[in-house]
């Protein structure tokens, strides 16, 4: 693929979903089938085209393209490099699966004509974030995505959802304004905000520190970093499950992506380490990990537990970014992939349980695994990956992060990783074990007659339809595949990203 084609493809994957939004909206008024087909088609085409950029990226090409100047030196531009590609690929992949899942899930929900256009639009703006060529373009798409996804958060329109949505909106705007301040200071100090010029700020002054803090607030807010995570556990659970999967699985990653760009483009590794900014980030990351995991323990609503878990998991990525050596960056990047896969799998499975049984509380979920073994099977695999059981992908990312921490001689970070894994086990296993083994209701009576001997765990399979199951199964298999397979594309991409940033080149 030559450069012109690649540019066309980049433009297409951003604009195509955005252009399709009104089409899907108007189709929604006529026929549900047509609307669903269009949505599915859009995300499939986008996914395939995004993946088709793989050879370009692996050739080591960096595409930086200015579309037009909005103000002098301030432009709308696009960029494709290894990091952009990795995130765009995983985002469009998860989006495709969630779209397939939505087809059945949303069939009985209200407001599908609003849901699908928004879903597609956020896909376009999310890819816009990942493929933006400068901080301003990134900011524009970031705001678009954040504000539009509000509609996904409040989709249920319950009072709880509106409340959570309002919190989300206020935090989003605070984050957006902080980003604005960060970007404008960067622009003032460096005269540009393009990602193509290497380090923009290398002098350290009060202003540049202010810019750093603003970026941390803006992107950290999105990534659910302590103490700006408060919106996340409210907003993610109230959305429809496929939207929760996207919010937690993909949209959180835009914050982490932004921090990658800030650390390696606006500043540099040297600036970060010379001023102990990496320690600021590290401390925040440790608190985020511990807090997310600890609070997750106390939640009884399954989706809330998953949302808190997301807070903790994003902490890993931040931790990797604060250590800033080869293994740590590889681990952080790989954890972005892992978490996207695991968390969306968990949310989809939780959604399936709620959809089928109406049970949201973990304490009610005993025996659910025998009714929905496939769903719970996927859930279990993803949960085990979260805990970091080998050979699933979560193990690999924690291993790499741990190596990074030890390389940097910060043993504390490695211990934090271990403790949080333990906490993960503590809050995921109590969902899985009772779901399969607890005996409830009629079973209990039946077993009492059997004098407590040889519990017959009756399987009464009533699992969800294949269209909902397939995405979960694919994701569950992915956790295994990307943990075990000798040709691990995601891990390679992460390693290359790490080399790319730390050594300034792909090979």
């Amino acid at each position: 693929m030559d450069e012109a084609t690649a540019i066309a493809v980049i433009l297409f994957v951003i604009l195509f979903p955005i252009v399709m939004t009104p089409v899907i909206m108007s189709a929604g008024g006529r026929s549900d089938k047509l609307r669903n087909a269009l949505t599915l088609g859009t995300s499939t085409v986008t996914f395939i085209l995004t993946i088709s950029l793989y050879p370009v990226v692996m050739n080591g090409e960096i595409i930086q393209l200015t579309l037009f100047e909005i103000l002098p030196d301030l432009e709308i531009s696009l960029r494709l490099d290894i990091l952009s590609f990795s995130l765009a690929a995983i985002a469009s992949f998860i989006w495709l699966l969630c779209t397939i899942y939505s087809l059945d899930y949303m069939a009985e929900e209200h407001g599908g004509s609003r849901y699908y256009p928004v879903l597609v639009f956020t896909l376009g703006s999310c890819l816009g974030i990942f493929l933006a060529g400068d901080f301003f373009t990134l900011f524009v798409f970031f705001e678009l995505m954040s504000l539009i996804s509000y509609i996904l958060v409040v989709h249920e329109e319950t009072e709880q959802a509106l409340k959570a949505g309002y919190k989300y909106l206020v935090m989003t705007i605070i984050g957006g304004l902080a980003l604005f301040l960060g970007i404008i200071i960067t622009f003032e100090l460096g005269g540009t905000v393009s990602l193509g010029v290497g380090t923009i700020i290398d002098e350290v002054t009060f202003l540049s520190f202010l810019a750093f803090i603003c970026f941390i607030i803006g992107f950290g807010m999105k990534a659910g970093m302590f103490p700006l995570h408060v919106w996340l556990p409210d907003a993610h659970p109230v959305a429809p499950s496929p939207a929760s999967a996207l919010l937690s699985g993909v949209m959180l990653k835009t914050g982490a992506y932004g921090l990658f760009r800030v650390i390696f483009h606006a500043f540099s590794v040297e600036v970060m380490q010379a001023n102990n900014w990496d320690i600021v980030l590290g401390v925040l990351a440790v608190i985020t990990i511990m807090l997310g995991s600890a609070v997750a323990l106390t939640q009884n609503d399954i989706k809330r537990r998953l949302a808190y878990s997301s807070v903790g998991q994003m902490g890993y990525v931040l931790l990797g970014l604060s250590i800033l050596n080869e293994n740590a960056i590889t681990g952080a990047m790989f954890h972005i992939f892992c978490h996207a896969i695991m968390k969306s799998c968990l949310f989809l499975a939780a959604g399936a349980i709620i959809w089928k049984t109406g049970k949201r509380l973990i304490s009610d979920m005993g025996g659910v695994g025998r009714e929905m073994p496939y769903t719970l099977g996927c859930f279990s695999v993803a949960a085990l990956a979260m805990i970091g059981i080998p050979p699933l992908n979560g193990f690999l990312s924690k291993w790499t992060l741990g190596l990074g921490a030890l390389d940097a001689n910060i043993t504390v970070y490695a211990i934090v990783l271990l403790i949080s894994s333990l906490l993960n086990a503590l809050y995921y296993l109590p969902i899985i074990v009772p779901a399969f083994f607890e005996i409830i209701g009629e079973d209990k009576g039946a077993n009492a007659h059997a004098h407590g001997h040889g519990h017959a765990l009756n399987f009464n399979v009533q699992d969800v339809a294949p269209r909902m199951l397939a995405p979960m199964v694919i994701l569950a298999i992915s956790t295994l595949l990307f943990g075990l397979s000798p040709i691990n594309v995601q891990f390679e991409l992460s390693q290359i990203t790490s080399w790319f940033f730390l050594e300034g080149g792909i090979f």
């Binding site: 705007i173 902080a178 202010l210």
Partner: protein, 492 residues
Amino acid sequence: MGLAQHFPALIIAILLGIAFLSPILYRWARKTSAPALITALSLSLVMGIVLLIQVHQGGTFYYHMGGWPPPFGVEFKVDFLRVYMLLVVLAVSLWIMVYALKDLEHELKTEMLGWYYSLYALLVGSMAGIALTNDLFNLFVLMEICAISACAIISIKEDRACLEASFKYLILSAMGTGCFLLGVAMLYMVTGQFNYDLVNEALPAAVEQYPNNMFAASSLFIVAFGTKAALFPLHVWLPDAHASAPSPSSAMLSGVVIKIYAFALFIMFYQLFPRPLLDSIPLNEIVLWLSTAGIMFGSIFAMVQVDLKKMLAYSSIGQIGYVFLGIGLDDTIALTGGFYHLLVHALMKSMLFMVAGVIIYSTGIRQIKQLAGVGQVLPLTMIAFTVGAASMIGIPGTGGLISKWYLALGALEVGRPFFVVIILASSLLNAVYYMPIIVNAFMHQETFEHEAKPVPRQMLVTLVIGVLAVIFFGVAPGLTLTLLENAIALFF
């Protein structure tokens, strides 16, 4: 050049002329009065554009009224910034008038319409004059015309709130004009001139002899223009006046009228006063802190309002603060931002007042609380509201972001990041009071219980134009900003 060289005077003459004709036309040929006003406004807008082309080709030029050069005659000056102001005034008032034609039928008694057209033309004409004039006494006269017609388009509704508000406005406005006249007298005393450029030349020598005169005049000017432009803490008249007036009047007053005084203050500082003298008094610093207070308090007061139009009016106090912030920061980039905000705010605030007007027209609701679910019956109107509010907050893709970008950049340029934080904090406050309205309008669960009259297409079309304009100035600000940068460079 022929006729074209008389355009500065012709614009004002046409507008004042139609002001005299409107009541007569309305009395004897009712159908022609509205088209006549629209024609006059369009014609003057076209002439304004021709003036812009002239300035672009030939640079700044002067026009002597009646051929009398100063110091005997009144002089008009046509440079980039003045033409910019002129165009903003004329374009926005034409746009508002198109909307007003439908809205006024509903808000006013029929026999009042002719008078309204007359007052409106008078208002626009006087503002065009303020934009162009180069003479202090002429400015005073035009300010009086402007103040009286502005009061009249509030009180024309003849209900208790309007009369009270317009009386308050009249008193404070008269105080403002009084201060201005006193200031002019101070300057005239020591220089013997009314023409800006001549005063500017004579001042350095005069100040040595009478140092206090210029100080007194400058502080009087801040009070005078501060009162008229609702600079904090002289804003007290604005919320009542703008909220109780008929919606097109509110749009006009909040959108355009207060801006012209901010512009006039700028001219006083940067053209009338010699630069070294201006630097010797911390005038900019005063304006800077007053505007900062205005930005914060305007937004904070807006948060607690229950009446939609009152909220918009308080929001105007905050927003006019941005324009003054640009003047206070005393930096070319910040001034560019301030004047860009002047245009953007004229568009978005007028549009928001029009939206409020449409809501009142259709459902009769004024309270914010009752607006829940209004998006179901007036979707297009509420989309216009959303775009206007987004621009107030400074969401990318709207004009508000561009002006904030420039203001913030200017604040950083002069090394005062504190004011960037102020700008952002006020954006956040804006979000806090605009967002709930939007959310409630669209996301309300119950159906909307009030009756809603169908809205005339003409009103909706003006809203759509407003939406497009706000987005246009957010996406393609290049030309306007170049114009402004050139315009402001002339003052440094």
